[in-house]
Point group: C2
Chain length 228, copies 2
């Protein structure tokens, strides 16, 4: 298994968005600890495979975070980060998809699976809409979910997800103070070194996604430098 | 922490039901590995405390399985077995009660907490009605839930719960064949040595409850002998 617990910086790539070949080289050599292939909409085996082919020549670890059992890839990847959304009333995203996946696929390589407890906090994000996550909750509710994830379920990863917008550092700080077992991920709206540094104070690992597409690889390199 | 992983036989006592003093002595000296205070209806701190007082003079380990955050006792017990029901559409019983509990109670002793993944299979049971569990599911669905519990969530306990009726040994056998990490509990309808032996072939631990009230301590002793 890869040494994912010591990653400080993950670059999240969305197979549904277009990267230029030069960007891919810049990303892969930026110092980011891993490339995570992820996304909520329109993930298919085809576009995941295409992206994997584009990045595989660089040595940086590549992992997949499937949004759905139909979007799980197994070949040529070093990890399978499988989310469970805790702050949703829809059981589908907590355990339903997982049960369906296991039922359909009998030879899952569990050694590469890293379960993630998602707490989704941007109501305008695709992931919030798809999962019907209850995003407008006070900090003590977020902390309670994170504590349940850390102590009761013992999730390897607790993931504070503001996908598409920059989150509230006070919430990430409050969560960081109760973590005992889980690695704390923060993702959402990090598009410069300052924001990377701010969230990187509290999160063990920051995840940078849209900045790659919106601002280019140069912004990504700044976020790597800020946390390393 | 108590050596709960090696228990073969648990006696589940319901604080809502009446035991005669003689029964309590017979139960506590039956060879059962632990007494579990549990129940779905009308559990209060008062009746839990009363039961605890009745059994505490015997050395057998006593654990509590709260049906609700309001029914959690902390003093004088060796373990807190906290269920999460996987086969329900109602998020309350998967993670909701847990989050509420953590929010209200800040000094939980996590060292004594043993998380249990419940798969509830008797539609007529109180636990099925309260949790709205989807009980009429084929064996492959049960096995898939159990696999998710064992491999993805890594629950210490997977609990096949037929509360109030004797279950299908083929289902328990099928689940036992996929368990890799979790300890497999079976509970429901065990009221004699034969049934204890049958389910005890597949489950690591059998849980005997109603027999104590319906048939008395003698039936309980038979179930202990059958699995030891």
């Amino acid at each position: 298994m890869i040494d994912w617990k010591n990653w400080r910086h993950i670059t999240k790539l969305d197979p549904d968005k277009i990267l230029r070949p030069g960007d891919i080289e810049d990303i892969a050599t930026s110092g980011t600890d891993a490339l995570m292939l992820s996304g909520t909409l329109n993930i298919t085996e085809e576009n995941l495979t295409l992206l994997r082919e584009q990045v595989k020549e660089y040595g940086v670890p590549m992992v997949v975070e499937p949004a759905d059992p139909s979007a799980v890839l197994y070949e040529g990847i070093q990890g399978l980060f499988v989310p469970s959304v805790l702050n949703t009333p829809d059981i589908t995203w907590v355990v339903g998809k997982h049960q369906y996946w296991v039922k359909k696929k009998h030879n899952i390589d569990w050694d590469i699976v890293v379960p993630e407890a998602y707490i989704v906090l941007n109501p305008d994000s695709s992931v919030a809409k798809v999962t019907k996550a209850l995003c407008n909750i006070p900090v003590e509710e977020v902390v309670a979910y994170a504590t349940v994830a850390d102590r009761y379920f013992k999730f390897p990863v607790v993931y504070i997800e503001y996908s598409g917008t920059y989150g509230n550092p006070d919430i990430v700080k409050a969560v960081s103070e109760v973590m005992e077992n889980s690695v704390l991920y923060y993702g959402g709206g990090i598009n410069c070194g300052e924001k990377a540094a701010e969230m990187g104070q509290f999160a063990d690992t920051i995840v940078v996604g849209n900045a790659v597409y919106d601002e280019g690889a140069k912004a990504l390199i700044e976020t790597v430098k800020a946390v390393k």
